[in-house]
Symmetry: C2
Subunit: 252 residues, 2 copies
């Protein structure tokens, strides 16, 4: 029996998604709970890594179960064992052919920026960037990034695999109110929503960091095309911090 999990988590106190020895990771705690439920180690396969400090509103993963349990009971058992910063939203039985990572068509991330002072209770979810932003210029610059490109310039150092990805959507919206699934708060913000077939490590944060430099007039709109074509990771703007990054959904 193969099961697909959909889960949300607050990444603040985790050392990222991916299991690592002696680190408190999301994959790690879920695997520990699965072992308690089934009495034997169970390997969990996520749709992909998520940066340390970033959050997930709908991370997906699958596992092959050593015995049969109703999805609703797996959900209940996991939620009763998991720490309160991770919640299983849904458990579904899936076909043997399903793979959390390889069956996924695309991923959508959200990034939140505000020029205003952030209330203490929202400090882990929005990036305070105290500059006036020209949103039209950022939108213009973002058009260069749409479609299939080699995103080496927006990748993380040391990553050796292929760097070609396809950005399907890149929306930038200015809002007077912050709207999150658990929160509405009147604070000016700029919201980036980016969908791609897959992402390189730190790719969203490098793209947002570069677009913010366009927005505040530090670099020209056309420079973004040059950065992309340069295929050199030293060209892009600095990565924005992970705490304002959310995995919104994974599309199958």
């Amino acid at each position: 029996m193969k099961y697909k999990l959909t889960l949300e988590y607050d990444g603040t106190s985790f050392y990222g998604w991916q299991k690592q020895k002696d680190k408190y990771t999301v994959q790690g705690v879920i695997e520990e709970c699965l072992e308690k439920i089934y009495g034997t180690p169970v390997k969990l396969v996520g749709q992909g890594r998520i940066d340390r400090g970033a959050h997930a509103l709908a991370q997906t993963a699958h596992f092959v179960a050593p015995s049969k349990l109703l999805p609703v009971n797996i959900k209940k058992a996991l939620n009763s064992l998991l720490p309160s910063e991770v919640r299983i939203i849904e458990v579904e039985e899936v076909d043997e052919g399903f793979h959390a990572r390889y069956s996924a068509i695309s991923r959508t991330y959200l990034y939140l920026v505000t020029p205003e002072e952030v209330p203490v209770f929202l400090r882990n979810y929005i990036f305070h960037y105290p500059y006036t932003l020209d949103v039209e210029k950022m939108k213009e610059a973002s058009r260069y990034l749409l479609g299939e490109h080699d995103f080496t310039s927006f990748s993380q150092a040391g990553e050796e695999r292929g760097k070609i990805r396809k950005i399907l959507k890149l929306e930038i919206e200015e809002r007077e109110k912050l709207i999150l699934p658990w929160c509405e708060y009147p604070i000016k913000n700029v919201r980036f929503e980016i969908e791609a077939n897959a992402f390189l490590r730190k790719m969203v944060r490098n793209i947002v960091g570069t677009l913010l430099e366009v927005g505040r007039g530090k670099i020209l709109v056309s420079r973004v095309a040059e950065i992309l074509e340069g295929k050199d990771r030293t060209l892009a703007g600095p990565a924005v911090p992970a705490h304002a990054l959310f995995l919104l959904r994974v599309n199958y």
Copy 2:
């Protein structure tokens, strides 16, 4: 020069308000910042302690400054040095006679309870109590507590000072929407707002814990009067956890 501070903080990662050796406390970090600003140790006097894990929307404190600075500049300097989980809301110059603790007339606390599953991003701010509550019964029981009484039964073990306090207000309200200063979320909740001249340690949490037992029918309404009169701290219901407790304001 004497200054009054009004500040908000998220108590999740603090070891409470009150300074303690080798512990991360709110008073401790603010005093460290004041020492950096003035170049000499400065003692901060709070209006009172706040339980470890509880939050403050408007904690107050005062300090005597070794040199003159504009209140607006003290605020800026402190906020640039403080960790993001504490924000100074206001700095005011006050008369020499002002005392954060002794000049305060009353304190108001908020406590939040929900029978529903709590989203991960709100887990540190509301208490999940999975029972149907009879709010009318809780209101009835709360009337015994109004006014001046010996609150020994609702105090913390080991506290030796006088136990007489005066509760000025005790409101219990059922809501369909959680409303916090930084958050609105559609989740059923019961909201306790308690004002007293001063509070004993754990007093709010012991009162709420006892009223919840009335609400779910575990103890009778009239039992609350007996608990109060018994002046015995083993009589009250269990204290509710600190993470859903907020200091709302201090009245001068």
